[in-house]
Amino acid sequence: MRFAFTDDQILFRDTVRDLLDKECQPEQVRYAWVDDDGRLLDVWSALGEMGVLGVQVPESLGGLGLTELDLVLLLEETGRVGLPDPIVEAVAVAAPLLAEVGSPELQQQWLPALAGGDALVTTAFGGVLVPNADSAGLVLAERDGRLVAVPTGAAELERQPSVDGSRRLFGVTWDDGDAIVLAEGADAQAAIDRALDRGALGTAAQLLGLGRQMLDLTVGYVKERRQFGVPIGSFQAVKHHVADALLHLEFAVPVVHAAAYALATGDPDAPRVVAHAKAAANDAARMVGRQALQCHGAIGYTVEYDLHLSLKRVWALSESYGSSAHHRRRVADLVLGPIPS
């Protein structure tokens, strides 16, 4: 038994953290709110060079051939800084899905380019809309029980603005004749279920990072901000808000890491652990967000201050790949069985 990451995994995390701390500051995230594609392409190609985009791409196709367990800490970092690019869709969901069910030609066409940051594949599994379909070449989706790949050139895209201005969401429609069928029947369902779990894990990891970011911001603020002649962080009511925030975050972290382990090792309980992880991360991030806003007071309620960038991302991601209620129901179905009569 050892419930900890390896030195290599920690080192990889630290390297990515250094890059993101330099290149994905709030100014850059704010830029993604107003530019056309909502992408930080320089950061994306740097992540490609580091191997981050190909963590779950096979080595023979230019990736690292690693697992969810190697990716989860990196996704936490991308959540912490609010990276606007669709790393969950492309790297955590699309890459392993194509590697599992794509034809050799399709894999050859897309995976090396995805791993290198030269092409983008996005997915339609997180909700009804598709993140960054405008800058992707391919959308993976489900239709009528089939798992399909849709070249965006043949699809119609309709922009749907989000409360989080750095997200680029699109309704995507296409003719069946333009879609490439990747799997049908039970194979499709199994592949889609895994994709949904990977998306839930990926967004859960990002939510942990967002929670950590908001808590750090808040702790810094309440140590500095003075009222009644003392730092507001000396007031017990404020202390208890931040203590509760840390509590919920700290008890979500090991569940998310256990979910990464479960997916990486093919544990048959993985769906239950992932559902638990997403529910816990949703609840923790929203709770931290509420406490962060409350402890900041009015400054936190402005768009000039950075907190709103994180809050809005939390509102988006906590509903993406399943709400807490959805995932709690999944856990209930797996642990409690049917409703007693």
């Binding site: 419930f3 382990y261 638990h276 816990a280 209930a332 007693p340």
Partner: protein, 387 residues
């Protein structure tokens, strides 16, 4: 990362499970917080000791099995899974003993620990006083130097002493230097409750059991050999005990994962459960599972030589609130049967859920209230200013 136990650890689990399945009383014992129940529990504790299951993590010389922290966790899981009785020896074994291992002299360890393991000496905790609860450093009970006799003479009062009316010994904090600043000048003393000058009065708790006691001390002699740690260094010694109390040892995850498995079983028997009941049961199960996973990570840290420090306050808040929520979920499932006493003919599970609920409500109070824990988390984990 590897979330599997080794073959040797699984063998340890199998041995514990087999023994517990064969030996855990099939009829639940009466509450250990009553006079009769306590006696029944002592028999059980002595059976545990005879089979070397009472203190698995201790050295074999003191009656243990030299079990690792992992094996200790496994034993706890199996103990509660098997429905093992409450441990009336817990405040000695889980609170005092780690402190004796850390601060006791060889002579103290040899004298105190084997009798504790064997449930011959039964220890209660003498910390709170009528005017010092959360503000523990405000204790007033005094120990005055008696050089001629080679010891201390103790006068004062302790209160809310769990199972104080049934235990044989008390460990506690006493003021040995009244001139010193609050957190200094205290010593950690070990006192037999049959010593001259000790009077114990049981107090009925919320649940009706005589689980509390007041302990009055009037010129009680305590020899130097019964000072644990240095004279006037009691605060530091006591903080080691609180870290056991808040951290792993007092309330291991196995206790809550087993309770949640029983809650799931109750749910499956409950006709007419609502969607809200279902969510509450699932959430309680998830919170217990989160505590289990959190602990696996903490034990990894400890096994690799890193200390948890003030993070143990996170544990305490989590398990105490989880315990309340899981019992609330159970009472909601029971509906109007929830209020029944265990001897009511229509009682479900012998009234264990209401009994458990009442006990769970003490969790956010004992071992440092959750308000104190949140202060500790904010100040010592997150670095917020004390004032």
């Amino acid at each position: 990362m590897d979330l599997n136990f080794t073959a040797a650890e699984e063998a340890f689990r199998a041995e514990a499970r087999a023994w517990l399945e064969a030996n855990v009383p099939t009829e639940p014992l009466p509450s250990g917080d009553t006079r009769d129940g306590f006696a029944a529990h002592l028999e059980w504790e002595r059976m545990l000791f005879a089979a070397r299951w009472s203190v698995v993590s201790w050295p074999a010389a003191y009656g243990g099995r030299d079990a690792s922290l992992w094996e200790w966790l496994i034993f706890e899981e199996e103990y509660y899974r098997a429905g093992g009785p409450q441990r009336v020896t817990q405040n000695g074994i889980f609170l005092l003993a780690p402190t004796v291992f850390e601060f006791g002299t060889q002579e103290q360890q040899d004298r105190i620990l084997p009798r504790m393991a064997a449930a011959e000496d039964l220890w209660c905790q003498g910390w709170s006083e009528p005017d010092a609860g959360s503000d523990l450093a405000g204790i007033k009970s005094r120990a005055e130097r008696d050089d001629a006799a080679g010891g201390w003479r103790v006068t004062g009062q302790k209160t809310w002493t769990t199972r104080g009316a049934f235990c044989t010994h008390l460990f506690g904090l006493f003021r040995t230097d009244p001139e010193a600043e609050r957190h200094k000048g205290m010593s950690y003393l070990l006192i037999p409750l049959d010593a001259d000058g000790v009077t114990v009065r049981g107090v009925g708790r919320l649940d009706g059991d005589e689980g509390f006691a007041e302990v009055f001390l009037e010129d009680v002699f305590v020899p130097d050999a019964d000072v644990l740690g240095g004279v006037n260094e009691g605060w530091g010694v006591a903080m080691a005990t609180t870290s056991s109390e808040r951290g792993l040892t007092l309330r291991s995850p196995g206790r809550f994962t087993a309770a949640c498995d029983r809650l799931v079983d109750l749910y499956q028997r409950a006709a007419g459960a609502t969607e809200r009941d279902r969510e509450q049961v699932a959430q309680a199960w998830m919170d217990a599972e989160a505590y289990r996973l959190f602990t696996l990570r903490d034990v990894t840290e400890m096994a690799e030589g890193r200390s948890l420090g003030a993070r143990s306050s996170l544990n305490k808040v989590w398990w105490s609130e989880l315990d309340v929520h899981l019992h609330e979920a159970a009472l909601d499932l029971l509906g109007s049967l929830g209020e029944l006493e265990g001897d009511a003919p229509a009682a479900v599970d012998r009234g264990a859920w209401m009994k458990g609920y009442q006990f769970a409500l003490s969790g956010p109070i004992y071992a440092g209230t959750n308000e104190i824990q949140r202060n500790v988390i904010a100040e010592r984990v997150l670095g917020l200013p004390r004032k």
